[in-house]
Each structure stands twice: as structure tokens, then as C-alpha cells.
């Protein structure tokens, strides 16, 4: 039970918070992702800092009204720079009993519940597994409940707009959105403008959605559905132009930017897989940038076409998620052996096998570091947040091209589909990526030596077909150093294995050192990689409010590791590594540096709650 309930709250008109977490939940067909993202955009324009976390089932349309069919969208809005989409919702919209059943456990005690009462009939209650109606049995007494007959009110609102049949209730999400706009003081015009633009080809649908949205807003205002409304003042973000961006879109744009900066055509060979497909969708729209996308017949062909494009002189990229990367494994080793530039994107999801296709997990780290046959230490980079995907895509391309090597770029479903405001860079200030195609023979007697290495980078020359005089053969068989001829010589194999490994290890001198943030004199360091970036820093912040000293560090480079990492780790007697796996970075760090780091691990298909990490920090500080 909450200590505070709706009835004994002060009867003020508007309560002001520094941050609030809102979750829209309904059936997959209820349009909750749309409602959530519209609420998000209105909040961005209002000036809040924000972060989002969509959650949807793996099935496209699970049976209506059932628990597996529930889809939700969570957004945290704040008047300061927040780092995550929030732990517990302060406000939950439940469009049907299943949505209530699945999400209620997360709602903060005393939180606000907005319920579509029209969906709470016997059939839907039974489908969701309720034995009695929660609207009547007192089980919701510890929350502030706003009961709204949304089906009825939406039907009434769209009566004059000309939509009929099933389309009538399709506008229900806009009714809910309108009510939320009133409750949280969101501006309405951006949403109305968006509706008009988005549905310009279906004027009756635009009219219905706008009518439902206004009806929802007016319902709040005129009926005073609740005595309390909420306010989160704008954040003071640094001056600049912002957009709200998901990781998949930022990654696609980063690849486009990298290709421009390298002066190379971009090629993306891939096979559809959740949650990486949006990268393909986005890239396939930008043909005027010279972007070629190829939806191949399978995962192996996806990387195969990319290897071909790399040989031909493109910035070549393939993308997938865990199961698809497993299929590409042999080809990644080929690219490593050929020493061709290639970016391999892995948007991680819950595994093994098909696992949890729509949920985030960080369980492919060891697979990325070690999951290939032979000695093939490929560079591994990891994206920290949705907007960071833009920068890391460029960085992956830079390393691939400069060192003539495949590079694995790790994202995950939280980064891929979560969003955050991104302060747009001045694209003219992004440094160029130098490309040195071989033009002339580099050996004595006018011979071309395809495995003659660069003195500094140890990269071999990139000679693309069509260049006269540089005809040469590459292949998976071991190559003789310098000449590139097939060689079974024992000493040569040792030399080549060592050379390839040294080439990759040497990249440590060309990447930033890891930075320690927070209390430099703390005895506890929270170390992270990938999407734990936000939760780790937020947890450290909260721990500091509890009066403890804690430092954080984040790894964007997993192979090679930053050259100062060992020194940093040895400065801290205690090291905590939170990960959405069973301890993969932990194992790697312990084996590399012989430090007694401790893990905080979970694999529940969801990001860390900040409180989970804060609690662990406080426990370790005792």
C-alpha cells in the first residue's frame, strides 16, 4: 500500500516534478507506440529532456486482448539531463485488462492510472486472467485511478468525420494522447500539425484522429477527470538544434556520413532480422546519397555481398542480430584473412537462438571477441546510447578503412529502438576519413605486392579491380607475407597470425583513453559498456545523493581495450560491472587485468532499473 493516495493528496491544481515517467500500454493493435512517440515529440518541443523505451511483442498481432499481445511505450521527461527512460512509471495508461495486468506491477505506489473502462468486459478480463474486475474489487485502491469510457467517447467524437466501421476505434489512441496532453500540460499544436501532415492522403482519418485528440484533451479539462495535473518544467539544454533520435536511425545516418567523409559509395548487404531491420529500411530510402542496399537471400549472402563490395572499393557494411551474426561468422573470418574493410553491425537481442527477439540483452560480447574459428581478433566497438550510434558508426568505418579489417559494431535493442534528444553536429566539422587506394605497383620490377604492410598501421594496400597493373588474388588460404601468394610455410603462418593480431592490437594507440567520471578519489568504480551507459551514470548520481563517493567509466572500445584501462582499474580497490548478461565483460576484464571486479547481472529482457545499480553500489560501499 502506498502511504499516500489520491484522496489525501493536497488539492492543488498542478503539481510540479523534476521528472516523471509515463507509460502507454495497450493491445498491439491499439497504437501505443504511436501515442508514445507523439507524446515524446511534444515533450521535446516543450523543452524537456527525455529518454524512451518501447516494448512490444515478437508476434506481429498476438491474439487481441491477451497478455502476449500487450505493447507498451515508456518515456521519462525531466527538467534536467536524464540518462534513462526511468525505472517505475508515475503514470500508466491501460487500454485493456491485459495491459493493466502486465504493467501494474511496475507502477509506482500512488501513481496515476488511466483506464479505458470500455475494454473491461467479462471476456477481456478472462483473457487477461483476472478473476474479478479490478475496477470494482478494490485492488487499485492504492493508485489514483482515472476511469474513462474511451471507446464510447471516441465513437462520439469521430461521428461527424466520415470514418466508419473498424476505423472508428482506431482513433482511440489519439483520445488517450489528448487526455495525457491535458494531464501533463503538453502543447497540442505540434500533434495536430503532425496528424494533418501524416494523414494528408486520408483526410477523413486525419479529421477523426484530430477530433479524438481534442476530445481527449477536452475530456480532461471539462470533466476535471482528476483534481491534479502534472508539470515538468523545461530542461536547460545547451543551445543548439536537436532532434529526437533512435539508435537504428542514428546508426544508418552515421554510415551515410562515414561514406561521405571517406568519399566512398556505401553498400549495405543484409537479411531482415529484428531488431536490425530498421537500419536497412532507413538506408534503402537514401539512394540519392549513392547508398546501395541489397536484401540478400540469407545472412551469409548479406555479408558475402558486402565482402564483394569491399573488394570492389566501397564502404561495405552488413548488419544483423545475434543469430544472424552466428551465420556470418565464417565470412567474418574470411574478411579478416582477406584484410578488407568491413563494418559488421550486431543489434543484440535476448538469446540464445531465437530467444527474445524484441528485447535487449548484451550477451554477444564474448561471441564478438572470441566467436570465430582460427586466430581472428577482430576490432569490437560498442554504442553507448541512441545518438552515440551516429558517432560510433563513423568510428567503425574509420578503423575498418584505415586498418583494412572487419570491425564489429555492437548495439542492442534498447539503443536501437530507444530514443533521446540529439544535439545535431555541424556535419562540416566531422573529420574526413582518408582512403588510400593503391594506384601503382609497390614492389621491385613493377610488381604489385598485396601483402606489403604499411609501416605505421600494418595495413595492406587496398587495390581495387579496374586498376591497371595491380591485378592480384586474395583468398582464404594463408598468404605469404608481402607477396600474397598461397603459402603453407610454418614460419610464415606464425608471422601472418602475429602480424594480423599485432595490427589490431596496435589500434589501441589510435583510440581515446578511457575517462573516469565522477569522484576521482572514490574507492569504487562502476565500469560499463553498451547500453548500460545511462543507467550506470544515473545510479552513480543517485548514490552520490546518498553521500557516497563513486566513479564511473564506460567502454566504447572492447577490442582493443583503451591503453590506459589497466592503470585505471588498478586505481580502484572495488570495481562493479553491471551487464545485461551473466558476466561477460566481467570475465574478460578479470582475465585481461587480473583485477577482482564484481558483476551485477541480469537477463530479463529489459534494461537495468537505476535503483538496481544504486542498491548494489550502496551495498558495496558498506
Amino acid at each position: 500500500m502506498a502511504e499516500e493516495s489520491a484522496t489525501d493528496r493536497p488539492q492543488t491544481q498542478t503539481q510540479t516534478f523534476d521528472r516523471l515517467v509515463i507509460r502507454f500500454a495497450g493491445d498491439s493493435g491499439d497504437g501505443m507506440q504511436l501515442a508514445g512517440s507523439r507524446f515524446t515529440d511534444a515533450s521535446a518541443l516543450f523543452g524537456n529532456d527525455l529518454a524512451t523505451l518501447p516494448s512490444y511483442p515478437a508476434e506481429i498481432r498476438a491474439p487481441a486482448g491477451t497478455l502476449p499481445g500487450v505493447s507498451s511505450f515508456q518515456v521519462q521527461i525531466a527538467d534536467y539531463d536524464i540518462l534513462t527512460a526511468g525505472d517505475e512509471p508515475d503514470c500508466l495508461v491501460a487500454m485493456n485488462p491485459a495491459a493493466l495486468k502486465k504493467n501494474l506491477k511496475d507502477l509506482r505506489d500512488g501513481g496515476t492510472l488511466i483506464i479505458n473502462t470500455d475494454a473491461f468486459d467479462e471476456r477481456n478480463l478472462a483473457k487477461a486472467g483476472f478473476e474479478s474486475n479490478p475496477l470494482e474489487d478494490g485492488s487499485l485502491d492504492s493508485y489514483r485511478v482515472i476511469k474513462v469510457p474511451m471507446d464510447e467517447l471516441t465513437t462520439e467524437a469521430v461521428r461527424e468525420t466520415g470514418v466508419t466501421g473498424r476505423d472508428v476505434l482506431r482513433s482511440k489512441n489519439f483520445f488517450a494522447l489528448g487526455l495525457m496532453a491535458w494531464l501533463f500540460g503538453r502543447p497540442t499544436q505540434p500533434t495536430l500539425d503532425w496528424i494533418e501532415k501524416k494523414f494528408s492522403r486520408k483526410p477523413e482519418v486525419a479529421a477523426a484522429n484530430a477530433a479524438a485528440f481534442k476530445a481527449g484533451y477536452n475530456f480532461g479539462e471539462t470533466t476535471e477527470a482528476t483534481k491534479v495535473t502534472f508539470e515538468v518544467k523545461p530542461a536547460t539544454l545547451p543551445a543548439g538544434t536537436y532532434t529526437n533520435i533512435t539508435g537504428n536511425i542514428a546508426l544508418a545516418w552515421g554510415l551515410v556520413a562515414a561514406a561521405q567523409k571517406a568519399g566512398l559509395p556505401l553498400f549495405y548487404g543484409t537479411y531482415p532480422i529484428t531488431p536490425a531491420s530498421d537500419i536497412l529500411h532507413e538506408l534503402s530510402r537514401h539512394k540519392n546519397f549513392g547508398v546501395r542496399t541489397l536484401q540478400a537471400e540469407d545472412e551469409i549472402a548479406g555479408i558475402g555481398t558486402a565482402i564483394g563490395a569491399a573488394f570492389a572499393g566501397c564502404l561495405a557494411v552488413t548488419g544483423s542480430s545475434g543469430p544472424g551474426i552466428a551465420l556470418k561468422s565464417e565470412a567474418i573470418s574470411l574478411a579478416f584473412m582477406l584484410e578488407l574493410p568491413l563494418v559488421v553491425v550486431n543489434v543484440q537481442r535476448g538469446g540464445p537462438s531465437t530467444g527474445l527477439p524484441t528485447k535487449p540483452e548484451q550477451s554477444d560480447l564474448l561471441f564478438s571477441l572470441y566467436g570465430r574459428h582460427g586466430e581472428s581478433p577482430v576490432p569490437v566497438l560498442a554504442i553507448a546510447s541512441p545518438s552515440d550510434a551516429f558517432d560510433m558508426a563513423i568510428e567503425a568505418a574509420r578503423i575498418a578503412i584505415k586498418y583494412m579489417t572487419p570491425v564489429l559494431l555492437l548495439s542492442d535493442n534498447y539503443i536501437a529502438n530507444g530514443s533521446e534528444p540529439w544535439k545535431l553536429p555541424n556535419v562540416d566539422e566531422i573529420p574526413p576519413i582518408p582512403v588510400k587506394f593503391a594506384k601503382h605497383p609497390n614492389g621491385p620490377d613493377g610488381k604489385f605486392l598485396p601483402y606489403m604492410r604499411d609501416f605505421d598501421t600494418f595495413a595492406r594496400p587496398w587495390a581495387v579491380p579496374g586498376t591497371p597493373g595491380l591485378e592480384h588474388r586474395v583468398g582464404g588460404l594463408e598468404k605469404e607475407a608481402v607477396t600474397g601468394n598461397v603459402s603453407y610455410d610454418p614460419a610464415n603462418h606464425q608471422l601472418m597470425v602475429d602480424s594480423r593480431a599485432w595490427k589490431v592490437a596496435n589500434i589501441a594507440n589510435d583510440i581515446p583513453e578511457v575517462e573516469v567520471e565522477g569522484d576521482q578519489d572514490a574507492d569504487l568504480l562502476v565500469l560499463g559498456w553498451g547500453s548500460t551507459y545511462g543507467p550506470n551514470r544515473a545510479a552513480a548520481r543517485r548514490a552520490r545523493l546518498e553521500g557516497v563517493k563513486v566513479a564511473t567509466a564506460h567502454l566504447r572500445y572492447l577490442n582493443p581495450l583503451p591503453r590506459n584501462l589497466g592503470d585505471v582499474l588498478r586505481r580502484f580497490p572495488k570495481i562493479l560491472i553491471p551487464e545485461l548478461n551473466t558476466g561477460q565483460l566481467l570475465k574478460h576484464i578479470r582475465s585481461e587485468y587480473l583485477v577482482d571486479a564484481v558483476g551485477l547481472n541480469k537477463v530479463m529482457g529489459e534494461p537495468f532499473k537505476v535503483a538496481e545499480i544504486t542498491d548494489k553500489i550502496l551495498e558495496m560501499k558498506k
Binding site: G47, W253, N288, G290, L294, G304, F311, L470, R473
Partner: protein, 342 residues
């Protein structure tokens, strides 16, 4: 630009390491001679292979080349062809490489009509792994991995290619350099994917598999040469091919009206007759057609991909990165913290 080349210009300094007497030597010579005759700059050719005896081929070609991984050559070649329409891209593969581990890539390269030329060396055996049966080995064949005879029904590679919507399908023989080069020329001139099955003798693990088509006595009776625009007759004119109920049937020439003999038309839009011809034999065990089964025109995948790129540029202009990152809507925070849309 036409250059004056000899076969030697397409040879590398690497020692050719096929078994003495292998049919691959003859095919290599045919291809090198053919390319030399074309006179096209050497640097414009790329040979991509997978794994197997035949796939060592690129190491012996003084062009650009890649010896890749098992079965994947058509996919890799696709990546080269679609990004570089200026190149002539060739795939060298075998019956195991193309039809077993790489079957998926083969059929999709053919249906997409990517501008690549696929040479499938069919010796009906796994040579490099020393003698297991392949997807084209005859049913019941006794090999190291089938001591009691195979129970695998084999593929007919020409039928498979036709079923995969290939626009150019041909068959030739390693020993017949002239025929091989005739087929190579037609494949080279074809815009789009060209599939050539080359019967290739493995004298170590499957010797004389093609004796019905190569033996001095036998070939006269069994080679059905498909020639565009000519009636299909063979065995010194004694035998002919007619169509009956959609099937190609071999008859005695003098038993039918000469007008009933099937006239070969490789450009027929519908592949049914070509398919019927491919069913005349399930392997080189009796009368078997050689030559071009099908040669039709369809837009190539690479040309279509590049057309879409050009159209997009014409419509929207070259990509503007600064505009792209603003395309989802923006808001601006000024120095005073004031927020405006856009």
C-alpha cells in the same frame, strides 16, 4: 580499348596444382585463350570462387581474383557486380560448391539476373575431400561415403538453372575447347547472369564419367549439339528431337516429317522447351544436349539498382547530410533557453 594479348598474359607465376590429367587444366586454357582473344583490359576481369578443386582457378588467372569460402562465390560476385558495372565478373565453382553448400546463392543470383558469368565445373564427385558423392553423382554410386551406393537423387544442373529463372543457360565439355569458347563468347555477350555447366573429368576419383560424350566411338552417337535456328538432329543425322505432349523425345530422323523436328530457339521467352531439352538426359549417360539452352533478355539487377540510384539523384539531388539529420523534425534551444520548433 582492344589490347593484343596472348594466353600467357592471363597466366600467373603460380604453379598450377591440379592432379595431372585433370579436366580443369583444359578449362583453364580455354578461358585464358578466350580472354586473350577478347582484348579487353586484363584489370577489368574479376574471378571469384568458393572451395573445391575448381575453386583454385582464380590463383592461376592473372586478373583480379578472390578464392573465398565454400558456396558463397555467387554472393560475393554479386557484391562486386552491383557496385562495379564497369567490371566483368566471373564465378568459378563446382558441383558441391554451387549445388550443395551454395545452392541458395546460385539460384538467387540467377533469378536476380546479376551480371555475372558462372562456370560450374561438374565432375559429379567431391575431389578435394577425396572422393565422396556429390549432388550430381548418379543414384546408386559407390563412393567412400556411400559404400552401399548413394540413395540421393541427383540434380540436373541445367534444369535447376532454368527453374531458377536463369536468362542464360548452357552446357559444354572440358575436352572440347572450341565448343567451350563458343559458349564462353555467348555468355560474355549476354547481359545478365549466365550459367554454364562444364562437364569436367576427375581422372582420380571419377574417371571417364563423361566417356559417352568424349569417347571417340561414343560421342558420335550421344552428343546432341544445340545450335540456334537449326533442327535438333544428331548421330550423323540419324536421330532427331521432336516435341510430344510438351516432352522432348528422341526419334529416328526418317520416322518423322522433317518439319516435325524441333528447331532450336534459345531466345524463346518461355523456358518450357529449354526445360524439356534439359530432361533428355539426367547425366552424361546417353544422348545429351550440349550448347546454349536459353539466352533471353531481362533487365539486370545491377543495371536496375543503378537506375534507381540515378533516378533518386535526378529527383532529389545529391544527398545533403545536413538536411538528412534534420529530416525527422527539429527544435532549437537558443542561448537564453528559449525553444522554437525547427
Amino acid at each position: 580499348m582492344t589490347l593484343s594479348y596472348t594466353r600467357a598474359d592471363f597466366q600467373t607465376d603460380q604453379e598450377v596444382r591440379w592432379c595431372p590429367g585433370c579436366g580443369d587444366y583444359t578449362i583453364l586454357a580455354s578461358v585464358q585463350q578466350f580472354l586473350a582473344r577478347l582484348g579487353r583490359p586484363r584489370e577489368q576481369f574479376v574471378f571469384v570462387s568458393g572451395i573445391g578443386c575448381s575453386s583454385r582457378f582464380p590463383y592461376y588467372m592473372n586478373t583480379y581474383g578472390m578464392h573465398s569460402i565454400h558456396g558463397r562465390a555467387p554472393a560475393i560476385a554479386t557484391g562486386i557486380a552491383v557496385t562495379r558495372p564497369d567490371l566483368s565478373v566471373w564465378v568459378v565453382t563446382g558441383d558441391g560448391d554451387a549445388l550443395s553448400i551454395g545452392g541458395n546463392h546460385l539460384i538467387h543470383a540467377l533469378r536476380r539476373n546479376v551480371n555475372i558469368k558462372i562456370l560450374l565445373f561438374n565432375n559429379q564427385i567431391y575431389g578435394l575431400t577425396k572422393g565422396q558423392y556429390s549432388p550430381t553423382s548418379e543414384l546408386g554410386k559407390t563412393t567412400k561415403s556411400s559404400p552401399f551406393g548413394t540413395i540421393d537423387h541427383p540434380f540436373n544442373p541445367v534444369s535447376l538453372a532454368l527453374g531458377a529463372e536463369a536468362t542464360f543457360v548452357a552446357r559444354t565439355l572440358d575436352m572440347d575447347r572450341e565448343h567451350t569458347q563458343m559458349v564462353l563468347q555467348k555468355a560474355y555477350e549476354h547481359e545478365g547472369a549466365a550459367f554454364i555447366e562444364i562437364y569436367q573429368n576427375c581422372n582420380v576419383f571419377n574417371d571417364k564419367a563423361f566417356i559417352q560424350l568424349t569417347g571417340k566411338e561414343e560421342r558420335v552417337h550421344n552428343r546432341i549439339n544445340l545450335e540456334h535456328g537449326k533442327p535438333i538432329v544428331f548421330d550423323e543425322g540419324k536421330k532427331a528431337v521432336v516435341l510430344r505432349d510438351g516432352q522432348a523425345v528422341i526419334v529416328d530422323s526418317n520416322s518423322v516429317d522433317p518439319g516435325a523436328i524441333l528447331v532450336h530457339d534459345e531466345t524463346r521467352p518461355d523456358p518450357s522447351v529449354a526445360f524439356a531439352l534439359s530432361r533428355l538426359s539426367h547425366g552424361p549417360y546417353g544422348p545429351t544436349p550440349l550448347g546454349v539452352f536459353r539466352n533471353v533478355s531481362r533487365p539486370t539487377y545491377d543495371a536496375e539498382m543503378n537506375r534507381q540510384l540515378e533516378e533518386a539523384r535526378a529527383q532529389r539531388g545529391p544527398g545533403d547530410l545536413s538536411k538528412l539529420i534534420r529530416s525527422l523534425g527539429t527544435w532549437t534551444v537558443d542561448e537564453g533557453g528559449e525553444i522554437t520548433e525547427g
